[in-house]
């Protein structure tokens, strides 16, 4: 449908991944950290789909479906952990959970 170079697509995927990485490193709010992880997973899936499109094989899209499944499972457990953290410490600061006291 379109003719682009694979480098352009991988560059877009890399930029999105790096933005997610910056968000994960910079933010202290744990909700934003989880959102940044979602951005990074989505960028990795974009790289897979670009690769699958380059060689006209469905394998890249299959890998994206697996990444989607993993992201859904990860986000459900992560949000449950956020709720638990908020009920215990009354904050969404990730540093509040730095001490393991059981």
């Amino acid at each position: 449908m379109i003719s682009i170079s694979i480098e352009t697509g991988l560059l877009l995927s890399g930029i999105l991944f790096l933005l997610g990485l910056i968000g994960l490193l910079v933010r202290r709010n744990i909700i934003f950290m989880l959102m940044s992880v979602e951005i990074m997973l989505n960028a990795a899936g974009l790289a897979f789909v670009i690769g699958g499109s380059r060689w006209a094989q469905p394998d890249g899209q299959v890998m994206f479906i697996f990444i989607l499944t993993m992201a859904a499972a990860e986000v459900s457990v992560g949000l449950a952990l956020i709720l638990l953290l908020y009920h215990r410490f009354k904050t969404v600061d990730a540093d509040a959970a730095s001490k393991m006291r059981g």
Binding site: M1, I2, S3, I4, S5, I6, E7, G9, L10, L11, L12, G14, I15, L16, L18, L19, G20, I22, G23, V26, R27, R28, N29, I31, F32, M35, S36, E38, I39, N42, L46, V49, I50, G52, S53, A56, Q57, P58, D59, G60, Q61, V62, F64, I65, L68, T69, M70, A71, A72, A73, V75, S76, V77, L79, A80, L81, I82, L83, L84, V92
Partner: protein
């Protein structure tokens, strides 16, 4: 058609930048939905219409709704926004941003060192994806079923309310 790709790519990058710089969580979430929709446009242009639909339904639909419900349950007020603006000082974000910019420059250098040959994307429809998914990748489907089951059990266990160990007579007495 190339111009649509570049417009969608610019929207995706811009809205992702807005996600990681917003103070209000709901605003960031709405920008994240815009970013996911523009990535879905890119998937459609790359010849993956099934994946574009899945991106909108599952990512922009289901996962973002989970986020919205959790933000509503936390009920973060104005003081959370002020605390967020305290955390997001330039001294906090300048270091990781510079390091990530160096990695980006390296990535651009590596990618542009090769010759830039274009390819024409061909449409791979849902039938081919399904044939591949339930053929050679069947073990992956079963493993992701186990992963989702583990996710359900884990989320239920974490979200379960513990029963109060104090008898209600003492609770009333303490009040």
């Amino acid at each position: 058609m190339q111009i649509i790709f570049y417009i969608a790519a610019i929207i995706a990058i811009f809205s992702t930048v807005m996600v990681i710089t917003r103070l209000n969580a709901v605003h960031a979430l709405l920008y994240l939905i815009v970013s996911l929709l523009s990535v879905a446009v890119i998937f459609f242009l790359l010849g993956a219409p099934f994946i574009a639909a899945l991106e909108i339904i599952i990512y922009a639909g289901a996962i973002m709704v989970l986020f919205i419900f959790v933000i509503m349950m936390l009920n973060l007020g104005r003081e959370a926004k002020e605390q967020e603006s305290q955390w997001l000082k330039p001294s906090m974000w300048i270091g990781p941003a510079i390091l990530a910019a160096i990695i980006l420059v390296q990535l651009i250098y590596v990618l542009m060192a090769n010759q830039n040959e274009t390819f024409n994307s061909t449409v791979i429809n849902a039938k081919q994806v399904g044939m591949s998914l339930f053929g050679p990748y069947l073990i992956g489907v079963e493993l992701s079923a186990i992963l989702l089951l583990a996710g359900i059990v884990g989320a239920y266990h974490l979200g379960r309310r513990k029963k109060a160990s104090v008898h209600r007579f003492f609770e009333e007495a303490s009040e």
